[in-house]
Amino acid sequence: MLELIHDNINDLVSVLLFVIGFADLLFQKNMIKKIIGLNIMDTAVYLLLASQGYIAGRTAPIVVDGITSTEAYINPIPSGLVLTGIVVSVSVTALMLSMTIRMYKKYHSLDLDYCLLKSREE
Protein backbone atom coordinates (compact mmCIF):
# COMPACT_ATOMS: atom_id res chain seq x y z
CA MET A 1 0.00 0.00 0.00
CA LEU A 2 2.72 2.45 1.05
CA GLU A 3 4.70 1.47 -2.00
CA LEU A 4 1.69 2.16 -4.23
CA ILE A 5 1.31 5.60 -2.68
CA HIS A 6 5.02 6.25 -3.04
CA ASP A 7 5.00 5.28 -6.73
CA ASN A 8 1.96 7.39 -7.58
CA ILE A 9 2.54 10.29 -5.23
CA ASN A 10 2.37 12.89 -8.04
CA ASP A 11 -0.93 11.55 -9.36
CA LEU A 12 -2.42 11.35 -5.89
CA VAL A 13 -1.41 14.87 -4.94
CA SER A 14 -2.64 16.32 -8.20
CA VAL A 15 -6.03 14.64 -7.94
CA LEU A 16 -6.33 15.84 -4.33
CA LEU A 17 -5.43 19.38 -5.39
CA PHE A 18 -7.88 19.18 -8.27
CA VAL A 19 -10.71 18.21 -5.92
CA ILE A 20 -9.78 20.99 -3.48
CA GLY A 21 -9.71 23.57 -6.26
CA PHE A 22 -12.94 22.31 -7.79
CA ALA A 23 -14.75 22.44 -4.44
CA ASP A 24 -13.40 25.95 -3.86
CA LEU A 25 -14.63 27.11 -7.24
CA LEU A 26 -18.04 25.60 -6.60
CA PHE A 27 -18.74 26.32 -2.93
CA GLN A 28 -16.83 29.48 -1.94
CA LYS A 29 -18.96 32.60 -1.95
CA ASN A 30 -16.09 35.05 -2.09
CA MET A 31 -14.97 35.74 -5.66
CA ILE A 32 -11.26 35.95 -4.80
CA LYS A 33 -11.42 32.56 -3.10
CA LYS A 34 -13.23 31.20 -6.13
CA ILE A 35 -10.46 32.45 -8.41
CA ILE A 36 -7.82 30.95 -6.10
CA GLY A 37 -9.73 27.67 -6.35
CA LEU A 38 -9.70 27.93 -10.12
CA ASN A 39 -5.93 28.37 -10.10
CA ILE A 40 -5.40 25.45 -7.71
CA MET A 41 -7.54 23.29 -10.01
CA ASP A 42 -5.59 24.26 -13.14
CA THR A 43 -2.23 23.87 -11.39
CA ALA A 44 -3.20 20.37 -10.32
CA VAL A 45 -3.74 19.41 -13.95
CA TYR A 46 -0.36 20.89 -14.91
CA LEU A 47 1.34 18.97 -12.10
CA LEU A 48 -0.24 15.77 -13.39
CA LEU A 49 0.83 16.52 -16.98
CA ALA A 50 4.39 17.56 -16.09
CA SER A 51 4.94 14.57 -13.83
CA GLN A 52 3.70 12.19 -16.53
CA GLY A 53 6.21 13.59 -19.00
CA TYR A 54 9.15 13.41 -16.58
CA ILE A 55 11.40 10.37 -16.61
CA ALA A 56 13.74 10.12 -13.61
CA GLY A 57 17.38 10.77 -14.37
CA ARG A 58 16.86 12.38 -17.78
CA THR A 59 17.17 16.02 -18.82
CA ALA A 60 15.18 18.50 -20.83
CA PRO A 61 15.33 17.76 -24.58
CA ILE A 62 17.80 20.50 -25.52
CA VAL A 63 20.84 19.18 -27.40
CA VAL A 64 24.00 20.80 -26.01
CA ASP A 65 26.62 18.05 -25.64
CA GLY A 66 25.86 16.43 -28.99
CA ILE A 67 23.87 13.61 -27.37
CA THR A 68 21.06 12.77 -29.83
CA SER A 69 19.86 9.50 -28.29
CA THR A 70 16.22 9.72 -27.18
CA GLU A 71 17.19 7.73 -24.07
CA ALA A 72 18.79 10.82 -22.58
CA TYR A 73 15.76 13.11 -22.66
CA ILE A 74 12.30 13.40 -21.17
CA ASN A 75 9.07 13.59 -23.19
CA PRO A 76 8.69 17.26 -24.18
CA ILE A 77 5.04 17.18 -25.33
CA PRO A 78 3.46 17.36 -21.82
CA SER A 79 5.66 20.36 -21.05
CA GLY A 80 4.36 22.03 -24.20
CA LEU A 81 0.80 21.29 -23.13
CA VAL A 82 1.49 22.77 -19.69
CA LEU A 83 2.72 25.97 -21.35
CA THR A 84 -0.43 26.19 -23.47
CA GLY A 85 -2.55 25.48 -20.42
CA ILE A 86 -0.82 28.20 -18.41
CA VAL A 87 -1.57 30.73 -21.16
CA VAL A 88 -5.24 29.74 -21.10
CA SER A 89 -5.49 29.87 -17.31
CA VAL A 90 -3.70 33.23 -17.08
CA SER A 91 -6.14 34.82 -19.51
CA VAL A 92 -9.16 33.29 -17.81
CA THR A 93 -7.90 34.44 -14.39
CA ALA A 94 -7.36 37.96 -15.69
CA LEU A 95 -10.87 38.03 -17.12
CA MET A 96 -12.38 36.74 -13.87
CA LEU A 97 -10.48 39.32 -11.82
CA SER A 98 -11.57 42.17 -14.07
CA MET A 99 -15.18 41.04 -13.82
CA THR A 100 -14.82 40.85 -10.04
CA ILE A 101 -13.61 44.47 -10.02
CA ARG A 102 -16.65 45.50 -12.09
CA MET A 103 -18.94 43.65 -9.71
CA TYR A 104 -17.29 45.17 -6.66
CA LYS A 105 -17.63 48.69 -8.07
CA LYS A 106 -21.32 48.11 -8.66
CA TYR A 107 -22.37 46.29 -5.46
CA HIS A 108 -19.45 46.92 -3.04
CA SER A 109 -19.18 43.27 -2.21
CA LEU A 110 -17.15 40.25 -3.30
CA ASP A 111 -19.88 37.85 -2.21
CA LEU A 112 -21.44 36.39 -5.35
CA ASP A 113 -24.68 35.33 -3.63
CA TYR A 114 -25.16 38.81 -2.16
CA CYS A 115 -24.52 40.45 -5.53
CA LEU A 116 -26.98 38.06 -7.15
CA LEU A 117 -29.66 39.01 -4.63
CA LYS A 118 -28.92 42.72 -5.10
CA SER A 119 -29.07 42.42 -8.89
CA ARG A 120 -32.43 40.62 -8.68
CA GLU A 121 -33.83 43.54 -6.67
CA GLU A 122 -33.05 46.10 -9.36
Binding site: F18, L25, V92, R102, S119
Partner: protein, 509 residues
Amino acid sequence: MEFIKNFPFFSIMLGMFSAIVSSVLGAKAAKYVARTALFIIMVLSGVLLWYTYAQGGGSYVFIMGHFPAPWGNEIRGGSLEALFAVFVSFIAFFCVIGGSKAVESDIEEKKQSLFYILVMLMTSSLIAMCYTNDLFTGYVFIEINTIAGCGLIMIRQTGKSIVTAVRYMVISLMGSGLFLIGVTMLYTITGHLLMSPIQETVRELAATGDYSTQLTIIIGLMTVGLAIKSGLFPFHMWIPDAYGQSNVVSSCLLSSVVSKGYIFLLIKIYFRTLGFDIVKDSGVLEVVFIFGIAGIIIGSLMALREKSLRRMIAYSSIAQIGYVYMGIGLGSLAGVAAAIFHILAHGVTKSLLFLSSAEFTDGSHARRIESLKGEASQHKASALSYAIGAFSITGFPLLAGFVSKLLLGGAAIGLRTRQWFALIALAISTILNAFYFLRTVVFMFIAPSEEHDAEIDIEKGPEKFVSIINVRNPLYDLALLALIAVNFILGLFSGPIIDVINEGLGLFS
Protein backbone atom coordinates in the same frame (compact mmCIF):
# COMPACT_ATOMS: atom_id res chain seq x y z
CA MET B 1 -10.92 20.36 -56.36
CA GLU B 2 -8.06 19.64 -53.99
CA PHE B 3 -8.10 23.33 -53.17
CA ILE B 4 -11.49 22.99 -51.46
CA LYS B 5 -9.81 20.92 -48.74
CA ASN B 6 -8.20 24.12 -47.46
CA PHE B 7 -11.58 25.73 -46.75
CA PRO B 8 -11.91 24.67 -43.06
CA PHE B 9 -8.55 26.27 -42.37
CA PHE B 10 -9.59 29.39 -44.29
CA SER B 11 -12.84 29.70 -42.33
CA ILE B 12 -11.10 29.46 -38.94
CA MET B 13 -8.37 31.92 -39.92
CA LEU B 14 -10.79 34.35 -41.55
CA GLY B 15 -12.84 34.46 -38.34
CA MET B 16 -9.77 34.99 -36.14
CA PHE B 17 -8.23 37.65 -38.38
CA SER B 18 -11.42 39.61 -38.81
CA ALA B 19 -11.74 39.64 -35.01
CA ILE B 20 -8.19 40.99 -34.70
CA VAL B 21 -8.73 43.59 -37.43
CA SER B 22 -12.01 44.72 -35.85
CA SER B 23 -10.18 45.72 -32.68
CA VAL B 24 -8.74 48.80 -34.41
CA LEU B 25 -11.88 49.67 -36.37
CA GLY B 26 -14.85 51.80 -35.45
CA ALA B 27 -18.30 50.43 -34.79
CA LYS B 28 -19.56 50.76 -38.33
CA ALA B 29 -16.52 49.27 -40.05
CA ALA B 30 -16.40 46.39 -37.55
CA LYS B 31 -20.03 45.65 -38.33
CA TYR B 32 -19.36 45.38 -42.05
CA VAL B 33 -16.19 43.32 -41.52
CA ALA B 34 -18.13 40.88 -39.34
CA ARG B 35 -20.98 40.60 -41.85
CA THR B 36 -18.63 40.03 -44.78
CA ALA B 37 -16.51 37.49 -42.91
CA LEU B 38 -19.54 35.55 -41.71
CA PHE B 39 -20.98 35.51 -45.21
CA ILE B 40 -17.70 34.25 -46.70
CA ILE B 41 -17.42 31.56 -43.99
CA MET B 42 -20.98 30.49 -44.78
CA VAL B 43 -20.19 30.21 -48.51
CA LEU B 44 -16.90 28.37 -47.88
CA SER B 45 -18.62 25.86 -45.58
CA GLY B 46 -21.42 25.43 -48.11
CA VAL B 47 -18.92 24.66 -50.86
CA LEU B 48 -17.17 22.16 -48.58
CA LEU B 49 -20.50 20.51 -47.82
CA TRP B 50 -21.21 20.27 -51.55
CA TYR B 51 -17.73 18.82 -52.16
CA THR B 52 -17.80 16.24 -49.35
CA TYR B 53 -21.39 15.14 -49.79
CA ALA B 54 -22.67 15.74 -53.31
CA GLN B 55 -19.31 15.25 -55.03
CA GLY B 56 -18.48 12.16 -52.96
CA GLY B 57 -15.35 13.74 -51.48
CA GLY B 58 -16.00 11.85 -48.23
CA SER B 59 -13.85 12.83 -45.29
CA TYR B 60 -10.21 13.78 -45.19
CA VAL B 61 -7.51 14.77 -42.74
CA PHE B 62 -5.79 18.09 -43.33
CA ILE B 63 -2.30 18.42 -41.89
CA MET B 64 -1.59 21.90 -40.57
CA GLY B 65 1.75 23.32 -41.68
CA HIS B 66 2.84 20.00 -43.25
CA PHE B 67 4.11 18.56 -39.97
CA PRO B 68 3.06 14.88 -39.91
CA ALA B 69 1.17 13.13 -37.14
CA PRO B 70 2.93 13.03 -33.75
CA TRP B 71 4.23 16.62 -33.95
CA GLY B 72 1.74 18.47 -36.07
CA ASN B 73 -1.83 19.52 -35.63
CA GLU B 74 -4.64 18.18 -37.76
CA ILE B 75 -8.02 19.26 -39.03
CA ARG B 76 -10.60 16.81 -40.21
CA GLY B 77 -13.16 17.78 -42.82
CA GLY B 78 -16.23 15.76 -43.62
CA SER B 79 -19.84 16.21 -44.58
CA LEU B 80 -21.10 16.38 -40.97
CA GLU B 81 -18.48 18.95 -39.95
CA ALA B 82 -19.30 21.00 -43.04
CA LEU B 83 -23.01 20.83 -42.25
CA PHE B 84 -22.38 22.04 -38.71
CA ALA B 85 -20.13 24.86 -39.94
CA VAL B 86 -22.85 25.94 -42.39
CA PHE B 87 -25.33 25.88 -39.51
CA VAL B 88 -23.13 27.97 -37.21
CA SER B 89 -22.22 30.57 -39.83
CA PHE B 90 -25.79 30.77 -41.14
CA ILE B 91 -27.25 31.47 -37.69
CA ALA B 92 -24.45 33.89 -36.81
CA PHE B 93 -24.79 35.79 -40.12
CA PHE B 94 -28.55 36.23 -39.94
CA CYS B 95 -28.56 37.05 -36.22
CA VAL B 96 -25.89 39.70 -36.76
CA ILE B 97 -27.63 41.36 -39.72
CA GLY B 98 -31.08 41.02 -38.16
CA GLY B 99 -30.10 42.30 -34.75
CA SER B 100 -27.97 45.22 -35.88
CA LYS B 101 -30.43 47.84 -34.62
CA ALA B 102 -30.85 46.02 -31.32
CA VAL B 103 -27.07 46.07 -30.93
CA GLU B 104 -26.96 49.79 -31.68
CA SER B 105 -29.61 50.64 -29.09
CA ASP B 106 -28.32 48.26 -26.39
CA ILE B 107 -24.59 48.79 -26.48
CA GLU B 108 -22.56 51.98 -26.18
CA GLU B 109 -21.12 53.15 -29.47
CA LYS B 110 -17.54 52.67 -28.25
CA LYS B 111 -18.18 49.07 -27.28
CA GLN B 112 -19.92 48.02 -30.47
CA SER B 113 -16.74 47.05 -32.27
CA LEU B 114 -15.89 44.88 -29.24
CA PHE B 115 -19.22 43.15 -29.67
CA TYR B 116 -18.37 42.21 -33.25
CA ILE B 117 -14.94 40.98 -32.15
CA LEU B 118 -16.65 38.67 -29.69
CA VAL B 119 -19.08 37.42 -32.34
CA MET B 120 -16.23 36.62 -34.71
CA LEU B 121 -14.14 34.95 -31.99
CA MET B 122 -17.15 32.87 -31.00
CA THR B 123 -17.88 31.80 -34.57
CA SER B 124 -14.32 30.90 -35.44
CA SER B 125 -13.76 29.01 -32.20
CA LEU B 126 -16.97 27.06 -32.78
CA ILE B 127 -15.88 26.22 -36.31
CA ALA B 128 -12.45 25.20 -35.04
CA MET B 129 -14.04 23.01 -32.36
CA CYS B 130 -16.10 21.32 -35.04
CA TYR B 131 -13.23 20.70 -37.49
CA THR B 132 -10.40 19.89 -35.09
CA ASN B 133 -8.84 16.44 -34.99
CA ASP B 134 -6.80 17.13 -31.87
CA LEU B 135 -8.18 16.97 -28.34
CA PHE B 136 -5.95 19.64 -26.83
CA THR B 137 -6.76 22.06 -29.64
CA GLY B 138 -10.38 21.29 -28.84
CA TYR B 139 -9.76 22.30 -25.21
CA VAL B 140 -8.08 25.58 -26.17
CA PHE B 141 -10.96 26.53 -28.46
CA ILE B 142 -13.48 25.58 -25.75
CA GLU B 143 -11.82 28.17 -23.52
CA ILE B 144 -11.80 30.81 -26.27
CA ASN B 145 -15.47 30.12 -26.82
CA THR B 146 -16.18 30.44 -23.09
CA ILE B 147 -14.42 33.80 -22.91
CA ALA B 148 -16.28 35.04 -25.99
CA GLY B 149 -19.59 33.81 -24.56
CA CYS B 150 -18.88 35.59 -21.28
CA GLY B 151 -18.20 38.81 -23.14
CA LEU B 152 -21.39 38.43 -25.15
CA ILE B 153 -23.39 38.17 -21.91
CA MET B 154 -21.86 41.18 -20.17
CA ILE B 155 -21.61 43.54 -23.17
CA ARG B 156 -24.72 45.39 -21.96
CA GLN B 157 -22.84 46.30 -18.76
CA THR B 158 -25.80 46.44 -16.41
CA GLY B 159 -25.30 45.07 -12.91
CA LYS B 160 -27.43 42.05 -13.68
CA SER B 161 -25.48 41.12 -16.77
CA ILE B 162 -22.14 41.35 -14.93
CA VAL B 163 -23.35 39.03 -12.16
CA THR B 164 -24.80 36.69 -14.77
CA ALA B 165 -21.53 36.64 -16.69
CA VAL B 166 -19.60 35.83 -13.50
CA ARG B 167 -21.91 32.91 -12.75
CA TYR B 168 -21.66 31.70 -16.35
CA MET B 169 -17.89 31.87 -16.16
CA VAL B 170 -17.67 29.98 -12.84
CA ILE B 171 -19.86 27.13 -14.08
CA SER B 172 -18.15 26.98 -17.46
CA LEU B 173 -14.71 26.87 -15.87
CA MET B 174 -15.74 23.91 -13.74
CA GLY B 175 -16.77 22.18 -16.95
CA SER B 176 -13.55 22.96 -18.77
CA GLY B 177 -11.48 21.87 -15.75
CA LEU B 178 -13.16 18.47 -15.79
CA PHE B 179 -12.71 18.21 -19.56
CA LEU B 180 -9.01 19.14 -19.29
CA ILE B 181 -8.26 16.51 -16.65
CA GLY B 182 -10.15 13.99 -18.82
CA VAL B 183 -7.92 14.86 -21.80
CA THR B 184 -4.82 14.62 -19.58
CA MET B 185 -5.76 11.20 -18.26
CA LEU B 186 -6.55 9.98 -21.77
CA TYR B 187 -3.14 11.23 -22.88
CA THR B 188 -1.40 9.40 -20.04
CA ILE B 189 -2.95 6.04 -20.92
CA THR B 190 -2.80 6.33 -24.71
CA GLY B 191 0.14 8.65 -25.38
CA HIS B 192 -1.65 10.53 -28.16
CA LEU B 193 -3.64 13.71 -28.58
CA LEU B 194 -4.83 13.24 -32.16
CA MET B 195 -8.21 11.60 -32.39
CA SER B 196 -7.57 8.70 -34.78
CA PRO B 197 -4.42 7.28 -33.05
CA ILE B 198 -6.20 7.57 -29.69
CA GLN B 199 -9.04 5.49 -31.06
CA GLU B 200 -6.66 2.75 -32.23
CA THR B 201 -4.99 2.61 -28.81
CA VAL B 202 -8.32 2.70 -26.97
CA ARG B 203 -9.54 -0.25 -29.08
CA GLU B 204 -6.40 -2.21 -28.19
CA LEU B 205 -6.88 -1.39 -24.50
CA ALA B 206 -10.54 -2.39 -24.65
CA ALA B 207 -9.62 -5.69 -26.34
CA THR B 208 -7.08 -6.59 -23.64
CA GLY B 209 -9.21 -5.20 -20.82
CA ASP B 210 -6.43 -2.99 -19.42
CA TYR B 211 -7.33 0.38 -17.89
CA SER B 212 -11.08 -0.26 -18.15
CA THR B 213 -11.81 1.70 -14.93
CA GLN B 214 -9.68 4.60 -16.12
CA LEU B 215 -11.48 4.62 -19.48
CA THR B 216 -14.87 4.80 -17.76
CA ILE B 217 -13.65 7.67 -15.58
CA ILE B 218 -12.29 9.49 -18.63
CA ILE B 219 -15.55 9.10 -20.54
CA GLY B 220 -17.42 10.31 -17.47
CA LEU B 221 -15.18 13.34 -16.95
CA MET B 222 -15.37 14.48 -20.57
CA THR B 223 -19.13 13.96 -20.73
CA VAL B 224 -19.81 15.79 -17.48
CA GLY B 225 -17.43 18.61 -18.43
CA LEU B 226 -19.07 19.28 -21.77
CA ALA B 227 -22.58 18.72 -20.36
CA ILE B 228 -21.96 21.38 -17.69
CA LYS B 229 -20.83 23.81 -20.38
CA SER B 230 -23.82 23.17 -22.61
CA GLY B 231 -26.27 23.57 -19.71
CA LEU B 232 -27.68 20.09 -19.16
CA PHE B 233 -30.27 19.90 -16.38
CA PRO B 234 -28.56 20.05 -12.96
CA PHE B 235 -26.18 22.73 -14.28
CA HIS B 236 -28.79 24.94 -15.92
CA MET B 237 -28.99 27.69 -13.26
CA TRP B 238 -27.19 30.30 -15.36
CA ILE B 239 -29.26 29.82 -18.53
CA PRO B 240 -32.40 31.89 -17.81
CA ASP B 241 -30.41 34.89 -16.60
CA ALA B 242 -27.82 34.63 -19.35
CA TYR B 243 -30.31 34.38 -22.20
CA GLY B 244 -32.90 36.61 -20.59
CA GLN B 245 -30.71 39.63 -19.71
CA SER B 246 -28.26 39.86 -22.57
CA ASN B 247 -28.57 41.60 -25.88
CA VAL B 248 -30.89 39.82 -28.30
CA VAL B 249 -28.10 38.81 -30.71
CA SER B 250 -26.11 37.37 -27.80
CA SER B 251 -29.14 35.38 -26.66
CA CYS B 252 -29.64 33.98 -30.16
CA LEU B 253 -26.00 32.99 -30.52
CA LEU B 254 -25.60 31.58 -27.01
CA SER B 255 -28.73 29.48 -27.12
CA SER B 256 -28.61 28.34 -30.74
CA VAL B 257 -24.96 27.72 -31.49
CA VAL B 258 -22.62 28.07 -28.49
CA SER B 259 -24.21 25.36 -26.36
CA LYS B 260 -24.57 23.19 -29.46
CA GLY B 261 -20.87 23.43 -30.31
CA TYR B 262 -19.95 21.62 -27.08
CA ILE B 263 -22.47 18.88 -27.85
CA PHE B 264 -21.07 18.49 -31.35
CA LEU B 265 -17.54 18.17 -29.91
CA LEU B 266 -18.85 15.56 -27.44
CA ILE B 267 -20.39 13.54 -30.28
CA LYS B 268 -17.14 13.82 -32.21
CA ILE B 269 -15.18 12.61 -29.19
CA TYR B 270 -17.57 9.69 -28.72
CA PHE B 271 -17.29 8.57 -32.33
CA ARG B 272 -13.80 9.62 -33.39
CA THR B 273 -11.79 9.34 -30.17
CA LEU B 274 -13.26 6.67 -27.96
CA GLY B 275 -15.48 4.60 -30.21
CA PHE B 276 -19.22 4.67 -29.65
CA ASP B 277 -19.47 0.97 -28.67
CA ILE B 278 -16.89 1.48 -25.90
CA VAL B 279 -18.78 4.55 -24.66
CA LYS B 280 -21.99 2.51 -24.71
CA ASP B 281 -20.42 -0.29 -22.66
CA SER B 282 -19.14 2.16 -20.06
CA GLY B 283 -22.68 2.96 -18.87
CA VAL B 284 -22.18 6.73 -19.06
CA LEU B 285 -24.92 7.05 -21.68
CA GLU B 286 -27.56 5.79 -19.24
CA VAL B 287 -26.73 8.69 -16.92
CA VAL B 288 -26.84 11.12 -19.84
CA PHE B 289 -30.24 9.70 -20.82
CA ILE B 290 -31.69 10.13 -17.31
CA PHE B 291 -30.46 13.71 -16.95
CA GLY B 292 -31.65 14.51 -20.45
CA ILE B 293 -35.18 13.40 -19.56
CA ALA B 294 -35.04 15.22 -16.23
CA GLY B 295 -33.96 18.35 -18.12
CA ILE B 296 -36.88 18.04 -20.52
CA ILE B 297 -39.47 17.81 -17.74
CA ILE B 298 -37.95 20.35 -15.34
CA GLY B 299 -37.18 22.88 -18.10
CA SER B 300 -40.74 22.69 -19.42
CA LEU B 301 -42.26 23.04 -15.95
CA MET B 302 -40.10 26.04 -15.13
CA ALA B 303 -40.98 27.66 -18.45
CA LEU B 304 -44.65 27.16 -17.66
CA ARG B 305 -44.22 29.02 -14.36
CA GLU B 306 -42.17 31.88 -15.80
CA LYS B 307 -43.78 35.31 -16.16
CA SER B 308 -41.25 37.06 -18.39
CA LEU B 309 -41.23 36.36 -22.13
CA ARG B 310 -37.47 36.25 -22.73
CA ARG B 311 -36.84 34.11 -19.64
CA MET B 312 -39.58 31.72 -20.71
CA ILE B 313 -37.87 31.18 -24.08
CA ALA B 314 -34.61 30.65 -22.18
CA TYR B 315 -36.17 28.01 -19.92
CA SER B 316 -37.44 26.23 -23.01
CA SER B 317 -33.77 25.97 -24.12
CA ILE B 318 -33.07 23.82 -21.04
CA ALA B 319 -35.77 21.41 -22.21
CA GLN B 320 -34.40 21.40 -25.76
CA ILE B 321 -30.85 20.64 -24.58
CA GLY B 322 -32.48 17.79 -22.66
CA TYR B 323 -33.90 16.46 -25.94
CA VAL B 324 -30.46 16.44 -27.53
CA TYR B 325 -28.89 14.59 -24.61
CA MET B 326 -31.81 12.17 -24.53
CA GLY B 327 -31.13 11.39 -28.21
CA ILE B 328 -27.45 10.75 -27.48
CA GLY B 329 -28.37 8.73 -24.40
CA LEU B 330 -30.50 6.36 -26.45
CA GLY B 331 -27.20 4.79 -27.41
CA SER B 332 -27.99 4.06 -31.03
CA LEU B 333 -26.85 5.62 -34.30
CA ALA B 334 -30.42 6.65 -35.05
CA GLY B 335 -30.59 8.38 -31.67
CA VAL B 336 -27.41 10.38 -32.26
CA ALA B 337 -28.57 11.29 -35.79
CA ALA B 338 -31.87 12.50 -34.31
CA ALA B 339 -29.94 14.48 -31.70
CA ILE B 340 -27.88 16.20 -34.42
CA PHE B 341 -31.02 16.98 -36.40
CA HIS B 342 -32.54 18.42 -33.24
CA ILE B 343 -29.45 20.61 -32.80
CA LEU B 344 -30.11 22.10 -36.24
CA ALA B 345 -33.88 22.38 -35.79
CA HIS B 346 -33.61 23.94 -32.34
CA GLY B 347 -30.90 26.35 -33.42
CA VAL B 348 -32.98 27.69 -36.28
CA THR B 349 -36.18 27.85 -34.23
CA LYS B 350 -34.70 29.37 -31.08
CA SER B 351 -32.91 32.14 -32.92
CA LEU B 352 -36.17 32.90 -34.75
CA LEU B 353 -37.99 33.12 -31.40
CA PHE B 354 -35.38 35.34 -29.76
CA LEU B 355 -35.03 37.59 -32.77
CA SER B 356 -38.77 38.06 -33.20
CA SER B 357 -39.26 38.63 -29.46
CA ALA B 358 -36.77 41.52 -29.65
CA GLU B 359 -39.54 43.79 -30.81
CA PHE B 360 -41.71 43.03 -27.78
CA THR B 361 -39.07 43.81 -25.15
CA ASP B 362 -38.02 47.07 -23.58
CA GLY B 363 -34.62 48.29 -22.52
CA SER B 364 -34.43 46.08 -19.44
CA HIS B 365 -35.45 43.08 -21.57
CA ALA B 366 -38.19 42.13 -19.15
CA ARG B 367 -41.74 41.82 -20.39
CA ARG B 368 -44.57 40.08 -18.64
CA ILE B 369 -46.42 37.62 -20.81
CA GLU B 370 -49.82 39.03 -19.78
CA SER B 371 -48.92 42.42 -21.17
CA LEU B 372 -48.43 41.00 -24.67
CA LYS B 373 -52.13 41.36 -25.50
CA GLY B 374 -52.81 42.86 -28.90
CA GLU B 375 -49.14 43.09 -29.89
CA ALA B 376 -49.90 41.35 -33.19
CA SER B 377 -51.81 44.38 -34.44
CA GLN B 378 -48.77 46.62 -33.95
CA HIS B 379 -45.94 44.31 -34.92
CA LYS B 380 -47.41 42.05 -37.58
CA ALA B 381 -44.21 40.60 -39.04
CA SER B 382 -42.53 39.70 -35.78
CA ALA B 383 -45.72 38.37 -34.18
CA LEU B 384 -46.22 36.09 -37.18
CA SER B 385 -42.58 34.94 -37.06
CA TYR B 386 -42.87 34.34 -33.33
CA ALA B 387 -45.99 32.26 -33.96
CA ILE B 388 -44.20 30.16 -36.59
CA GLY B 389 -41.28 29.63 -34.22
CA ALA B 390 -43.64 28.65 -31.40
CA PHE B 391 -45.47 26.22 -33.67
CA SER B 392 -42.18 24.69 -34.79
CA ILE B 393 -40.83 24.21 -31.27
CA THR B 394 -44.12 22.67 -30.17
CA GLY B 395 -43.88 20.22 -33.07
CA PHE B 396 -46.44 21.20 -35.67
CA PRO B 397 -46.13 19.28 -38.95
CA LEU B 398 -44.41 21.05 -41.90
CA LEU B 399 -41.92 22.63 -39.50
CA ALA B 400 -38.48 21.61 -38.26
CA GLY B 401 -39.52 20.78 -34.68
CA PHE B 402 -41.98 18.16 -35.91
CA VAL B 403 -39.33 16.22 -37.86
CA SER B 404 -36.87 16.22 -34.99
CA LYS B 405 -39.49 14.98 -32.52
CA LEU B 406 -40.50 12.31 -35.03
CA LEU B 407 -36.88 11.23 -35.44
CA LEU B 408 -36.30 11.13 -31.66
CA GLY B 409 -39.46 9.10 -31.15
CA GLY B 410 -38.58 6.78 -34.03
CA ALA B 411 -35.07 6.25 -32.67
CA ALA B 412 -36.46 5.38 -29.24
CA ILE B 413 -38.84 2.68 -30.49
CA GLY B 414 -37.51 -0.85 -29.99
CA LEU B 415 -35.14 0.00 -27.14
CA ARG B 416 -37.06 -1.90 -24.41
CA THR B 417 -37.13 0.16 -21.17
CA ARG B 418 -35.69 3.32 -22.65
CA GLN B 419 -38.44 3.65 -25.28
CA TRP B 420 -41.16 4.16 -22.68
CA PHE B 421 -39.22 6.80 -20.78
CA ALA B 422 -38.32 8.61 -24.01
CA LEU B 423 -41.80 8.48 -25.52
CA ILE B 424 -43.54 9.54 -22.30
CA ALA B 425 -41.06 12.41 -21.85
CA LEU B 426 -41.67 13.50 -25.45
CA ALA B 427 -45.43 13.38 -24.95
CA ILE B 428 -45.40 15.30 -21.65
CA SER B 429 -43.04 17.96 -22.91
CA THR B 430 -45.01 18.44 -26.14
CA ILE B 431 -48.13 19.11 -24.09
CA LEU B 432 -46.26 21.51 -21.80
CA ASN B 433 -44.66 23.21 -24.82
CA ALA B 434 -48.08 23.70 -26.33
CA PHE B 435 -49.28 25.23 -23.06
CA TYR B 436 -46.58 27.78 -22.54
CA PHE B 437 -45.73 28.73 -26.10
CA LEU B 438 -49.21 28.79 -27.55
CA ARG B 439 -50.36 30.80 -24.52
CA THR B 440 -48.03 33.61 -25.58
CA VAL B 441 -49.15 33.34 -29.22
CA VAL B 442 -52.80 33.51 -28.19
CA PHE B 443 -52.09 36.54 -25.99
CA MET B 444 -50.45 38.31 -28.91
CA PHE B 445 -53.31 37.74 -31.30
CA ILE B 446 -56.26 38.63 -29.07
CA ALA B 447 -57.43 42.18 -28.73
CA PRO B 448 -56.63 43.82 -25.38
CA SER B 449 -59.67 44.12 -23.16
CA GLU B 450 -60.03 47.29 -21.14
CA GLU B 451 -60.85 45.79 -17.75
CA HIS B 452 -58.00 43.31 -17.80
CA ASP B 453 -55.48 46.00 -18.61
CA ALA B 454 -56.62 48.00 -15.64
CA GLU B 455 -56.10 45.00 -13.40
CA ILE B 456 -52.55 44.50 -14.56
CA ASP B 457 -51.82 48.17 -14.16
CA ILE B 458 -52.79 48.02 -10.51
CA GLU B 459 -50.60 44.99 -9.97
CA LYS B 460 -47.61 46.29 -11.85
CA GLY B 461 -47.82 49.91 -10.85
CA PRO B 462 -48.85 52.85 -12.99
CA GLU B 463 -46.34 52.59 -15.81
CA LYS B 464 -47.70 51.00 -18.97
CA PHE B 465 -45.44 49.13 -21.27
CA VAL B 466 -43.74 51.34 -23.84
CA SER B 467 -41.57 49.80 -26.48
CA ILE B 468 -38.31 51.71 -26.31
CA ILE B 469 -36.30 49.74 -28.80
CA ASN B 470 -37.18 49.95 -32.45
CA VAL B 471 -35.41 46.98 -33.97
CA ARG B 472 -37.18 47.01 -37.33
CA ASN B 473 -35.24 47.58 -40.49
CA PRO B 474 -35.30 45.70 -43.84
CA LEU B 475 -32.44 43.45 -42.73
CA TYR B 476 -34.41 42.41 -39.64
CA ASP B 477 -37.26 41.28 -41.86
CA LEU B 478 -34.81 39.52 -44.17
CA ALA B 479 -33.27 37.63 -41.24
CA LEU B 480 -36.69 36.56 -39.95
CA LEU B 481 -37.66 35.46 -43.46
CA ALA B 482 -34.47 33.43 -43.90
CA LEU B 483 -34.90 31.69 -40.54
CA ILE B 484 -38.56 30.90 -41.33
CA ALA B 485 -37.57 29.59 -44.77
CA VAL B 486 -34.91 27.28 -43.31
CA ASN B 487 -37.42 26.14 -40.71
CA PHE B 488 -39.77 25.07 -43.49
CA ILE B 489 -36.92 23.51 -45.49
CA LEU B 490 -35.88 21.44 -42.46
CA GLY B 491 -39.50 20.45 -41.98
CA LEU B 492 -40.44 19.62 -45.56
CA PHE B 493 -37.19 18.40 -47.13
CA SER B 494 -35.54 16.73 -44.17
CA GLY B 495 -34.54 13.66 -46.24
CA PRO B 496 -31.25 14.94 -47.73
CA ILE B 497 -30.19 16.52 -44.42
CA ILE B 498 -30.75 13.26 -42.55
CA ASP B 499 -28.74 11.52 -45.29
CA VAL B 500 -25.84 13.94 -44.75
CA ILE B 501 -25.99 13.33 -40.98
CA ASN B 502 -26.07 9.55 -41.35
CA GLU B 503 -23.27 9.50 -43.91
CA GLY B 504 -21.16 11.84 -41.78
CA LEU B 505 -21.69 9.72 -38.65
CA GLY B 506 -20.73 6.62 -40.66
CA LEU B 507 -17.49 8.29 -41.74
CA PHE B 508 -16.72 9.35 -38.13
CA SER B 509 -15.79 5.90 -36.88
